[in-house]
């Protein structure tokens, strides 16, 4: 029997039909083309120049950095992915500063990393993504993936905690996976979400480890673009063992006083490190809704972002940046603060428009020690 997904076999009749339908869809009538080759040439030249300038600067940086790393690199060597790299705050977490839930911070995550492998220096916290207002996630971004000829992607670790009483499904959408029990984590049940009975490996370079927390909830660590060459199984087990599972409010670089009535926080995020923050050292945002319309407050250092690496798309190098998003901005204490909305300013007239909200936003500066978890008042 032919494997229908084997490249060497011919397409089945149904697959041929899908191919035909995809062609019909791609050939369907479309608006005039919006891409601009001349713009691509101009932007491409600019990026080439930036890249060359960055390369010149990197020569010095590498010389200094190599000497420093030689002293502080954890046991296991520069290439090890299991070397301890925990360098977190007083709370014991790795990455940006977090604290107790104050009830005034829209970015509260249910778990934070207590340990990460060497090279996982960029952290992103999200709340209210994928249309789920209460969903939160911690994401760590590591070195470029290994064991591939393309090396475009960064190694990723995602940490989530399921709601109380929720037994996470094994059908992840489109394909049944298998529970492959493993050694308990901190004395509690744990299992891999395997691609076959008895096989803990996930699909491709993905791995998922689920482990029960002391309060009975299930937590989940998911690795993408990591393989056995990255010691992915041991990395996930160690990271799971040291996960911090109390709710933590992520300190933000701004406060918003006297939040207008009707403005409801709907999402929040903090990217920490240039890979997580579009080339900036960090970037933070809070999304609100007012009568069903989105409006967002964003902040990042008022500097030029670093050039992107490995094709990662940032706000500045993405063509999404060319979309005319109406916004109002100000700079304060080295932080650029913006209020923007795709629908424009008109739906927010009742709160004084963009400036009505921006005037309520106070910068806490670029010193992370001054950031606050008392964000909304």
């Amino acid at each position: 029997m032919n494997d229908p997904y084997d490249g060497s076999s011919s397409l089945s009749a149904a697959e041929q039909r899908l191919a035909a339908e995809l062609t019909a869809l791609a050939d369907s009538p479309a608006p005039g083309m919006g891409s601009d080759t001349a713009w691509a040439v101009r932007t491409g030249r600019s990026r080439l120049l930036r890249r060359r300038l960055a390369a010149l600067g990197a020569v010095t940086a590498v010389s200094v950095g190599a000497a420093t790393l030689g002293v502080v690199w954890p046991e296991g060597g520069a290439g090890s992915t299991v070397a301890a790299a925990a360098s977190g705050s007083g709370s014991g977490s790795v990455g940006p500063r977090v604290g107790p839930d104050t009830g005034h911070d829209p970015l509260v995550v249910q778990a934070t990393f207590g340990w990460l492998p060497a090279g996982f220096d960029d952290i992103e916290y999200d709340k209210g993504f994928s249309g789920q207002p209460e969903a939160s996630q911690a994401k760590a971004i590591g070195p470029k993936q290994t064991n591939t000829t393309t090396d475009r992607n960064r190694q990723l670790l995602f940490l989530t905690v399921h709601a109380p009483g929720v037994e996470p499904p094994l059908d992840l959408g489109g394909g049944l996976r298998y529970r492959v029990d493993t050694t308990p984590i901190n004395g509690r049940p744990a299992y891999w979400v395997g691609s076959a009975p008895g096989n803990p490996a996930g699909v491709g370079d993905d791995r998922t480890l689920r482990f029960k927390l002391a309060d009975g909830r299930w937590a989940e660590l998911h690795a993408s673009y990591m393989s056995d060459a990255d010691n992915v199984a041991n990395v996930l087990v160690q990271a799971a063992t040291e996960v911090r599972t109390e709710p933590r409010a992520v300190a933000m670089p701004f406060r918003i006083k006297s939040l207008p009535a009707g403005l409801t926080p709907a999402s929040a995020s903090l990217g920490y490190g240039p890979e997580a923050a579009g080339g900036y050292p960090w970037t933070a945002s809070i999304g609100f809704t007012l009568n069903g319309k989105w409006i967002s407050v964003t902040a990042h250092p008022d500097t030029t972002p670093a050039p992107p690496t490995n094709g990662r798309v940032t706000r500045e190098n993405s063509l999404l940046a060319s979309v005319d998003v109406p916004e109002a901005c100000k700079s304060s204490k080295g932080v650029k603060l913006c209020v923007s909305a795709m629908d424009g300013e008109a739906p927010f007239a009742s709160i004084g428009g963009f400036n009505g909200l921006l005037d309520r936003v106070t910068s806490r500066g670029t010193d992370e020690n001054a950031w606050t978890t008392e964000v909304l008042h």
């Binding site: 869809l25 713009w39 992103e124 994928s130 394909g175 699909v203 491709g204 094709g311 798309v313």
Partner: protein, 178 residues
């Protein structure tokens, strides 16, 4: 002079390939305007590397790989998610640019419901007619991953489209079922 030649070669290549790239981008993202953004970004990246790659054997394959990875990278970017949410909220009428209600909209909606990597796999395998190995190379993953993503993508499409009545000489029961 060298720069002028370089730019002329680049411009000629993009002029010839942009419509095709735009179609691939549209299948990936389901929105012609965003497809333009993806094409623009991809050809800009292509320009940056043009000096090194303009003589490669399979330039089409190269730029297609850039396009797919640009699409996938944007799915992971918080800014892209932020922007997409607002675009979805602000521009729902964009579905109207595809006028065929029988086939195109159904398939477009079903495609958009797939996770991004599944969608990319389906598009590369069945629209771009790539082998499993070629698809894996384009996406920077294993062949096993491609097979699995293909399988899951096809099953999900079948599930999403099964209840539809689609005008078809072959009949709806033959859609993507095997």
């Amino acid at each position: 002079m060298a720069k002028q030649t370089r730019d002329a070669d680049f411009t000629a290549f993009v002029a010839a390939r942009a419509p095709w790239l735009r179609k691939v981008a549209y299948l990936l993202c389901g929105d012609w305007h965003r497809a333009d953004d993806l094409v623009q970004e991809s050809v800009t990246k292509l320009y940056v590397r043009w000096g090194r790659i303009s003589k490669v054997d399979n330039l089409d394959g190269y730029v297609r790989t850039v396009l797919v990875n640009t699409f996938l990278a944007e799915q992971r970017s918080p800014w892209a998610r932020w922007s997409a949410r607002r675009r979805d909220a602000a521009l729902p009428e964009r579905a109207a640019v595809v006028p065929d209600p029988d086939v195109s909209v159904d398939l477009r909606a079903a495609l958009s419901a797939l996770p991004s990597r599944q969608r990319a796999t389906v598009v590369l395998r069945y629209y771009c007619d790539l082998t499993v190995e070629q698809t894996a190379a384009a996406m920077g993953c294993s062949t096993g991953n491609v097979k699995s993503q293909s399988s899951r993508g096809l099953h999900a499409l079948r599930r999403l489209l099964d209840h539809e009545t689609v005008a078809s000489a072959a009949g709806p029961s033959e859609r993507i079922t095997s």
